[in-house]
Symmetry: D2
Subunit: 322 residues, 4 copies
């Protein structure tokens, strides 16, 4: 909503909620001053119908039915997981239940993705970890620089966990501490990363993914490594070529490493590559704001593409730092 408020082609319609329907937005989000007195409505087709674009962020398993009720004249952008995975068995294994089918995948910087988004009325926006991890490793895999066996450790701020009231997310627990979770390949973003990287690589890519919780509100820094199989000396050129024309993916000058703060509030990915000759591995470090390019900003980028607007409309490339 913060980003949509400054989007020149958007007028904000109904704001809806789950348990908080009926309450003022300003109670929860006082930073959205221009919308503070808006009252949250129920997330129903009655309320949402009639809008040109609807963004959904629902518990999984709920968006397909609502999208069907909204019909094909509405651009439905699903920030949830329901339509990200292509494989029904993978859906069943990782989420359980019937697969709702897959929609055009909202990571325009992946090969072929942008074409599928043009003119679509359905978008499945990726998760925050798949966004940063896939963009970090896709060029190397596409170029055959590395083998299909990647290791990712992604450190994240706590907003990634949403606003659920769990003891380990309390400020007093989080501040001054680091912890791992979803270790051993059990985080639900793992199959999504594997799907993206396998698609780029053309062969199955094995993904070891570990998320780490750190004491900051927002931001993800992913350290991504893979065994070098090609010429490490070409790594920089490969990444430069892959992203030179991308407005939101920024390869930093040699010697400068990404910080999440430089991306705070913006729709950018900052990344850097290195070759570890001793270990025979490529290391890519990438930073995003999980609440911007992570999902919400990426969703607006997809909206722009789907509607035929300039892709960068309303999306900042400038972070809020320090």
């Amino acid at each position: 909503m913060r980003l949509l408020l400054s989007h020149p082609e958007v007028e904000i319609g109904a704001l809806t909620a789950g348990g908080n329907a009926g309450r003022r937005l300003g109670e929860f989000q006082p930073h959205l001053l221009p919308l503070a007195d808006r009252v949250l409505e129920e997330s129903t087709a009655e309320v949402l119908g009639g809008h040109d674009v609807v963004f959904l962020a629902l518990p999984h398993g709920r968006s397909a039915e609502l999208a069907a009720q909204l019909g094909d004249s509405t651009l439905v952008i699903d920030c949830g997981a329901d339509h990200r995975l292509q494989d029904a068995d993978a859906w069943d294994r990782w989420y359980g239940g019937e697969h709702a089918g897959h929609w055009p995948y909202g990571l325009p910087e992946l090969p072929g993705a942008r074409d599928a988004l043009r003119g679509t009325t359905r978008v499945a926006v990726p998760g925050c970890f798949p966004t940063v991890s896939s963009l970090a490793l896709a060029p190397a895999l596409a170029a055959g620089l590395v083998g299909p066996d990647v290791v990712i450790t992604a450190v994240t701020g706590t907003s990634g966990a949403g606003r659920s009231l769990k003891p380990h997310l309390l400020g007093a627990e989080v501040m001054g501490s680091l912890s791992a979770y979803g270790v051993g390949g059990v985080h639900r973003h793992t199959p999504e990363i594997a799907q993206n990287l396998s698609g780029v690589s053309g062969e199955p890519v094995s993904v070891s993914f570990t998320p780490v919780l750190a004491p900051l509100p927002r931001g993800i820094l992913a350290t991504c490594t893979a065994p070098l199989t090609g010429d490490g000396a070409q790594a920089r050129e490969v990444y430069d070529k892959a992203y030179a024309a991308e407005p939101f993916v920024h390869l930093l000058p040699e010697g400068q490493w990404p910080t999440t703060k430089a991306t705070l509030g913006s729709n950018t990915v900052h990344l850097q590559v290195a070759v570890d000759a001793d270990a025979g591995r490529l290391v890519v470090v990438a930073a995003i704001d999980n609440l911007a390019k992570g999902t919400a900003g990426g969703a607006i980028q997809c909206m722009n593409i789907a509607l035929g607007l300039p892709e960068v409309t309303g999306l900042p490339t400038t972070g809020v730092a320090p």
Copy 2:
């Protein structure tokens, strides 16, 4: 000094410094209230001579000469890097200049290390990253569970960088941000980790090591993975056996993952293991307080062993949380 103050067999003698010699300790370390009015002296053999034990934390290349002046009747515990590496070429490559030789290595939990520490008058205390990384991976390598090709991403609080006045360590830069540094195998702790793990494994171990800076004062959480070559179902038993008798290394109950805060101020390592069957990797996550077991606590543990005191004397196993 905090830990030594509550060590029942220690009387604190001279306190020395570099550029701050001549000033009150309380100016810099007001938390050390019982020592606040002590005046810092010069780090010379004249001042340090006559003590039973001397702890050094000097810029590299400086401890050998001072230790020689102190003679063999003094137990010299070097918290710096000078005597950690066994190989003179490795020293020259990573630090430059002439190798001062290696001393008994102060990580008692490594196979054979404790014996070498008993009765010694010289100890090379390991760095913080090598401590946590080596203890995380040694049992799996020793048991042949994993192959000699490990990937480590270690997230650290900013005290690991000391009190040097660099812009990127300012509070306003650090808070709310994550950054990587020393990427691509260029951090000086890399050869020390490789030395430890190769020693345990019996064959050269390749180490991909990436440190990440996170916004907390102290604490390291290391995510360590290696390709499974043995029976993953035995992983827990291997670690349980390796550390059951160790007073400071704690394998958490199944399902519970380490947090750095649980180790804050204590000499403990908390760790947990998982097998990622899809990726074919073992994942070990380990947490320490870099300013306790990381170096300073480990140094006291080594002192206890060298002097023939009970190893746990004066060393807390209880963290300060939240």
Copy 3:
């Protein structure tokens, strides 16, 4: 419990809980490694009976009945609010319901308080804000240096709010933000501060008290001001005299200002005084760890006095920093 574990005269008996009875302590408090496998019991007189000392930290209105069941042979130390206020009307106004009566007040550094604690079997431990605020202002009021009209702004870490699951205490909300709460004299610690300061002053003291929530886990820094009515030049001497013999209250050297971190984990109060001649006010800044001297450490200090042990037994004066 962390402090009691290193208290040489204490053996820890039953550990009890409310909703978490029946679960392992290590699930919630993994930093208390030596107690991690203890199972929490119900907070009943059956479980608690037979101990020499019982510490209570119950919702208000609940400790009187339990204490009565335990009888006079048990030293009951109430960390809750029930027996702090002397005035039944004040109790009714601020907490509601019938007053349980007042017990000897556990702030030994207040004039007369220590005598009332010797040999007692009942102690009402003060709240964290009253501890730091009362010790900051009592000497000036007792000496007639300032008028009975004080303004206190106390900044606190979030552990002061306990482990209740409220949205505004989530890490993502707390980190990077400051907020005030209980503004306008409505915080329940206000009458307790007024009671303490009025007792010292001999006349009613009016208290303007505002707590501010800041992004750190623990620590309180109170800025306390009052109009100068005496000779400001004597301020330092007044405080020096008041606290010179106190083991836990430390007036910093001139020019050095308190930091909460210097008190972290310790039972100390660090304070400093200044005279603002332009504004005609005395300003006292005082720091504590709210989870140590704030309540838990103070409770053990009172136990020592009540049992006739040396007052400082088992209580650190050394903080954990940085």
Copy 4:
């Protein structure tokens, strides 16, 4: 620069620096992606001449000469202290040396200030603490609600101290700690606050001001109290009336208290008032982003007024949260 980049009427000209002249902006400010490759120039009249607007942020004592060289056709907006104080003696006491004279004061929301800014070619932008403190107390003083004797405790993030390399500003020192500084009325923002409030009140206002450093990058929360002399029941109406038409000053709904995060990155002030009948004081709590409305945003607001643009042009009222 972040704000100017999205200002529709601004084209960014020369960027200058002190010691860092000659280096890429992106080395220091990687979040300003569109300007990352700009090279910093020297802060001389040659470089700065020919621009319509020049923003200065120089060490004190340096802006008058440069402004004179730039001439009257350039709008010079001084973010430093040189031209804030009206009284030469006050300047000499607080800063030392000769007074450069005072310029129209850049806090448009103060009575009369906006008129003085229209069409001016010189603006003295206020400091961050004077901005938030003056706006918090001005309405009550102007309305005669409170007496001229105010107490302010302002908690601030560490960016307020700039990027100077001082040990107490290092991340490891700042995180997990609170500290006071400039206690006893010695902070240089004190006379500026007194000047503003005395101007509003019509009589000398005595100011007790204490800044507190907290572990967050940016944000100020000021708790401002004064003795009630008027009818407290009118407090809300007084503030409502004062700020109803102000685009950047927002009185929160009753029962909701300001958080700095709601203002992060925006040019807004959020405030709330309460009457403490027991203490006989009005309490106003106000939050700003010290790097937005605190100085930089306020500077742009003044530029808009001086140039005759709509005052709100290019200035967000939406914060970046959480």
